[in-house]
């Protein structure tokens, strides 16, 4: 796989489709982005990182030192990814702290989910996907040819945007990762089931109906069931892909409480749209924009003292 040159540089922001920063609704005058497209020769020098990213220029991500001091469970090393000829991730490099909650935020289409799905190589299922660079789990590359994808996924637990319990009993849903490993020991399965459901703060609600269908639960319960399923396999990393976007505020609060409880036991990477949620549950936050990492640091710093003005704009709702 050779280095693919970055996608053709769009000549004007207006000519790129949906990936350009959306014009903010409140239409505050902003440099470059707010102005109508100008002819090439009259365009002013790009001052904003956002603008430079939109033009396809490489930029240096702002990574806080506090992050680098942490023990990394995952490391992204110049990771780029293409869907066919369209590049979705550009040269992403950052470590993910062990035992902490790392939130990935950013506007729609910025590549957060793609990045998350690269960690357990769910992107492999997409036919035309291609990547470069490396991701290391505990120092071992997970992209190598000799890596067994199935085993890799067993080391990760993943929770999706939409609750997706299997059409089986609650019990079977939870012990699914053990079932596929061929474990038939009833006692062990029961033990893991209870442990995982307790871990997912669902035990008390479902302990009397473990053998009813998992589809009979409410949305929030279903999502916690999925989390229970994800932690039943004792993963090294828990990947949460917008776990609350389909839930109501009360269910969201429960999930957030759960994430807080799981902190320390698991290394969690959570993708979220909701900046308040990121600030509430995460230890570290990475802001992404158009497939690039913009800024990455401790959550408190990102939300209170961001290094970049663009981060400030995003968290205060000026764009995105």
């Amino acid at each position: 796989m050779t280095q693919q040159p970055p996608a053709a540089v769009p000549q004007s922001p207006a000519s790129t489709d949906g990936d350009v920063p959306q014009q903010p609704a409140f239409s505050q005058p902003r440099p470059a982005a707010a102005k109508p497209p100008l002819p090439d020769e009259t365009r002013p020098p790009a001052t904003s990182r956002l603008h430079r990213i939109a033009l396809g220029e490489p930029i240096q991500a702002e990574i806080h030192d506090a992050v680098l001091r942490e023990d990394a469970v995952l490391e992204f090393d110049h990771f780029s990814l293409w869907y066919g000829s369209k590049q979705a991730l550009f040269d992403v490099s950052f470590p993910v702290a062990r035992g902490k909650v790392t939130a990935l935020i950013g506007p729609s289409g910025c590549g957060k989910s793609t990045l998350l799905r690269s960690i357990n190589r769910m992107n492999d299922l997409i036919d035309s996907v291609r990547y470069e660079g490396d991701i290391r789990l505990n120092g071992e590359s997970i992209l190598g040819r000799q890596v067994d994808v199935i085993e890799l996924r067993k080391r990760m637990g993943m929770v999706f945007q939409k609750p997706n319990p299997f059409p089986m009993s609650i019990f079977e849903n939870v012990v699914y990762p053990l079932r596929i490993d061929g474990i038939r020991n009833r006692r062990l399965l029961k033990e893991v089931c209870e442990q995982s459901l307790r871990g997912a703060a669902l035990w008390d609600e479902v302990k009397d109906r473990l053998h009813e269908s998992g589809l009979g639960l409410s949305g929030g319960q279903q999502q916690r069931l999925c989390i229970a399923r994800a932690i039943a396999g004792a993963p090294e990393v828990l990947l949460l892909d917008e776990p609350c976007s389909a839930l109501d505020p009360i269910a969201t609060a429960k999930i957030e409480d759960l994430i807080n409880e799981l902190r320390g036991e698991y290394s969690i990477v959570i993708v979220t749209h909701n900046m308040q949620q990121a600030s509430r549950v995460s230890d570290y936050t990475a802001l992404m924009y158009l497939g690039r990492l913009l800024e990455y640091g401790p959550t408190s710093d990102i939300f209170t003292r961001p290094h970049l003005p663009e981060t400030n704009d995003y968290i205060t709702g000026r764009f995105g």
Binding site: G157, F166, S213
Partner: protein, 928 residues
């Protein structure tokens, strides 16, 4: 309408949009019209569908209903017989031997001098003197055969004498017989001669100018006696003259100088057969061949004779003599129920081959004996009122010299009164019986059902008869009209005619769905045989063989098609690259557009002959092709490129190559297999002539032992191997796994062989169960070809069902670390179960109703046999084959509708069950 008005009201406040378009906040009337129209059309279409389906059901029911309508008779005429027409020829039946010896003259004198004397009064039982009677086609007149008085009386229904014809010659008549089907009669004389002749009705149409005014004045439907017959004005205003013609030949010497006690005749292919019992206790058999010399015009009569002792003495003379259809068997029945059967296939030396009793109770007496149509079933009526129907069967363990045994196939119970008259139908298996108490019953012999009962109304004679209470009512003769539409009964002094309404006498629920003992069959069986070359044929309308055939066709085709289609659907939806799937799916769907008639004749004319030629190779291929494909998969794992995503497209061509290798392997191994396992000739082996059952059991148990091997392998062996080779290179692992597979295959064969040997040791041969004699058109061929017909539909529906499983479930499963195969089996297939089940049911429905393939390739033999190498006949194919030859409105025609109704109900029940199960499956996954 209210909403419309409100909308109109809003119209007043029509607004203007920012781009100055007038906003009409009202729904246009045309939208309402279209909406109503669409709703109406859709409702109409739906209703029409429901109505038409029910219409079909109702139509089928209406066509079938008459089959099960009860038969009945209604009285159309009754009269008291004042003339001697109703009286009988008192000495018609043989008198006891001693009486006969007493003097010829006495008998003759009594016959002439005492014309009114009846059998009852002369001390004989009524059946002794049962008059021989025949009825004409229109049930207008009947003849009474009275050879002792050398006359045949022709009487009009109502008793009026129309004509008196002379029969016989000037000798003492001692025996006589009339064949009710042909009108042939034979008269035996005291001098040992037998005279034959024929009674027949003659119809001619007269011109109005040829008759007198009285006849011309006849109105349609009216009739009057005219020139020894009856003249009737038909509905078409023609004058129909109907009369009796008596022909007779010269007497032939059968038993020189002996008195003939009993006589009967038959027509064999080589001439008329005359059988007689003479007073010296001999059975005489004579075959009369008449040959006309073409040059001289002179008729030469040749006689071939034989005789054997009939084994009776003077005190104990036989009462009835009957010759079976072609003259090959002669039955001699005594009053006490003894029956002697003679084999007369060699005319020069008849042999007594069987003796038995035809009565159950010791004190019962045989009262009448006759044949059913075809002269094969012997009907015996006794004094207890029971009618037994006897026919010959050929059991394997027969003790008789000719290997044939007489059995009682049917028993028709009366009400305890003696049977006094029996009359077979001239066209069907209906039997009319008259009883001593004056009742007349109609039976259908095959279905053993009593069709109807009639009774003489109490016409009391002036002085009661001596024979007992109302002995005059005892039925002395009963006869069925040639078209089975009338039955005539005569008592001593009265007569009665009933009209018979029995269009479908042979059909009862039991005869259609139960076992019926048909004539000549060793035991009651389910048989479908609706037509034959002869009129005497007994129609066999058992639907069970056809239902069985339908189930068999469905079973074998689903056995072949369903797993293939389901696995193909799972493969394409879960594993195949979308680019390939895009091409594969339409290709398979295109298979569905192949007309089944094309598949049918391919199967019958191309596939079946080829398979017949290469049976061992075909059988071997069933094992080698899966083996080769699996082996190919293991070989593929060995290739270094196997783990590269972009070489995956190579897999399909490689599978095709594997299949080819498997077929080649089968071609090589086939002859070897035939030599070693099937004793050198698989056809003879299947026929059960050579070899032992081991090989068959081995083949049958191959799938079972393979399944066992897979279970053991995946449960214990494979995890152990995986544990041991955890840190070895991939290639080593692949080699080991392949070794495991090859060892496993060997073990499968060994276990199958062992199983076969054990089953063979306990003397259990597979031949005769699911395998057996090979027929070219068989269930195997149909299974494969019909499998191809059902594969596309099962495949398409199940692929759609699998594709409809939300991607999020697959992602969840894969994200949890499941392999695609585990994902498919544990998540996708259970979720899509309702769809897969529907697919199977749709396939099943297609297989059940499929006509052309089974019609052409199944051989259409309605037999009940699970043997995969034998043919069958399905309900649908049966309808297609026989509908063109069924007469509209006939029993056969309606039975085909019953077959259709059965098919309809089968699919209906099947679909209902399927839908219920499907809904249960769907409930599990409906919240997705």
């Amino acid at each position: 309408m209210r909403s419309l008005e409100i909308a109109r009201g809003c119209d007043v406040n029509a607004e203007t949009s920012p781009n100055s378009r007038r906003l009409r906040r009202v729904t246009q009337p045309s939208v309402y019209v279209v909406d109503r129209l669409a709703r109406g059309l859709i409702a109409c279409g739906g209703l029409l569908t429901v109505v038409s389906v029910f219409g079909v059901l109702i139509y089928l029911c209406v066509e079938v209903m008459p089959l099960f309508r009860p038969e009945r008779i209604e009285r159309v005429a009754s009269w008291s017989a004042a003339t001697d027409a109703a009286t009988t020829d008192s000495t018609d039946a043989p008198a006891p031997l001693d009486a006969r010896r007493a003097g010829i003259t006495k008998v003759t004198a009594r016959g002439v001098a005492e014309p009114e004397a009846t059998g009852v009064e002369s001390g004989m039982s009524p059946s002794d003197s049962a008059p021989l009677v025949g009825l004409d086609d229109y049930a207008r007149m009947y003849w009474v055969f009275q050879p002792r008085r050398r006359q045949v009386l022709l009487c009009r229904v109502g008793g009026e004498l129309l004509a008196r014809h002379a029969v016989g010659v000037e000798k003492t008549v001692t025996a006589s017989t009339v064949n009710p089907w042909t009108g042939d009669f034979a008269i035996g004389y005291a001098d040992g001669t037998v005279q034959t002749g024929k009674l027949s009705f003659k119809t001619e149409f007269l011109d109005d100018s040829a008759v007198t005014a009285a006849e011309r004045a006849l109105q349609p439907g009216e009739s009057r006696p005219y020139r020894k017959g009856l003249l009737e004005r038909t509905a078409e205003h023609q004058l129909r003259h109907h009369t009796l013609v008596v022909q007779q030949k010269k007497p032939i010497v059968v038993a020189r100088d002996r008195r003939i006690l009993l006589v009967d005749q038959a027509h064999s292919t080589r001439g008329t057969v005359l059988v007689a019992v003479s007073d010296d206790g001999m059975l005489r058999y004579a075959r009369v061949t008449e040959r006309k010399n073409l040059l001289t015009g002179e008729t030469v009569t040749r006689l071939k004779q034989g005789q054997c002792p009939a084994q009776f003495d003077a005190e104990d003379s036989p009462a009835f003599l009957r010759v079976a259809g072609l003259g090959d068997n002669v039955f001699l029945v005594f009053r006490d129920g003894r029956l002697l059967r003679f084999d007369t296939r060699n005319p020069s030396s008849p042999v007594l081959v069987e003796r038995r009793s035809v009565l159950d109770t010791p004190h019962a007496r045989v009262r009448c004996v006759t044949f059913l149509i075809g002269k094969t079933s012997l009907v015996v009526g006794d004094s207890e009122g029971n009618i037994g129907v006897w026919f010959r069967i050929k059991p394997d363990d027969a003790s008789t010299p000719d290997g044939v045994v007489l059995v009682r196939g049917h028993l028709l119970h009366g009400n305890g009164n003696a049977v006094t008259a029996l009359a077979p139908s001239l066209r069907s298996r209906i039997m009319a019986a008259g009883y001593a108490d004056g009742t007349v019953r109609l039976f259908h012999v095959t279905s053993e059902q009593q069709l109807a009962e009639g009774r003489f109304t109490a016409v009391r004679t002036a002085e009661p008869a001596a024979g007992g209470p109302d002995a005059g009512a005892a039925v002395r003769a009963v006869v069925l009209a040639p078209k089975d539409d009338h039955v005539l009964a005569l008592a001593r002094d009265r007569g009665m005619l009933w009209r018979v309404h029995a269009p479908h006498p042979e059909i009862t629920w039991r005869s259609v769905f139960g076992k019926v003992w048909y004539e000549g069959y060793p035991e009651p069986e389910h048989v479908w045989q609706s037509s034959s070359g002869s009129d005497a044929f007994e129609p066999k309308y058992g639907l069970v063989p056809l239902i069985f055939g339908t189930i068999k066709a469905t079973f074998y085709s689903m056995l072949f098609g369903a797993p293939l289609a389901l696995l193909a659907a799972v493969y394409t939806s879960e594993f195949l690259h979308p680019r390939w799937k895009k091409r594969v799916k339409p290709t398979i769907e295109m298979m569905a557009s192949l007309p089944s008639v094309v598949l049918g004749f391919l199967a019958a004319l191309f596939f079946a002959p080829i398979v017949e030629r290469i049976v061992p190779e075909t059988l071997t291929a069933l094992a080698t092709v899966p083996f080769a494909v699996l082996w190919g998969a293991y070989l593929w794992q060995l290739l270094p490129i196997a783990r590269h995503g972009h070489w995956h497209w190579l897999r399909i061509p490689l599978v095709a190559i594997s299949v080819g290798v498997g077929l080649q392997l089968a071609a090589w191994l086939g002859p070897v297999v035939e030599r070693t396992l099937f004793a050198g000739d698989v056809m003879l082996w299947l026929d059960g002539q050579i070899g032992t059952g081991t090989a068959g059991w081995m083949f049958l148990s191959l799938p079972l032992s393979a399944l066992m091997a897979v279970l053991i392998g995946s449960r214990w062996v494979a995890p152990a191997v995986r544990r041991r080779l955890r840190n070895r290179p991939t290639r080593t692992y692949a080699v080991c796994v392949m070794g495991q597979f090859l060892l496993g295959s060997a073990a499968v064969i060994a276990v199958a062989w062992l199983l076969g040997a054990v089953l063979n040791q306990i003397a259990w041969d597979p031949r005769g169960t699911f395998v057996g004699t090979y027929v070219q058109r068989n269930a195997f061929v149909v299974g494969i070809v019909m499998g191809f017909a059902v594969i596309p539909i099962i495949y398409t529906v199940s692929d759609d069902a699998l594709s409809a499983v939300p991607e999020s479930l697959r992602a969840a499963s894969l994200g949890a670390g499941a392999t695609p195969w585990q994902t498919a089996l544990r998540v996708v297939v259970p979720t899509a179960m309702s769809g897969l089940f529907s697919a199977l049911m749709i396939g099943l429905g297609r297989a059940v109703g499929e006509t052309m393939i089974v019609l052409m390739a199944a051989g259409n033999t309605p037999i009940i046999d699970w043997n995969i190498f034998s043919g069958f006949r399905t309900l649908s194919a049966n309808i297609a084959v026989e509908m063109p030859e069924a007469v509209k409105g006939s029993t056969h025609f309606r039975m085909l509708f019953l077959a259709a109704l059965t098919l309809f109900l089968m699919t209906f029940v099947l679909n209902t069950i399927a839908e219920t199960i499907r809904l249960r499956f769907r409930k599990k996954a409906f919240e997705l």
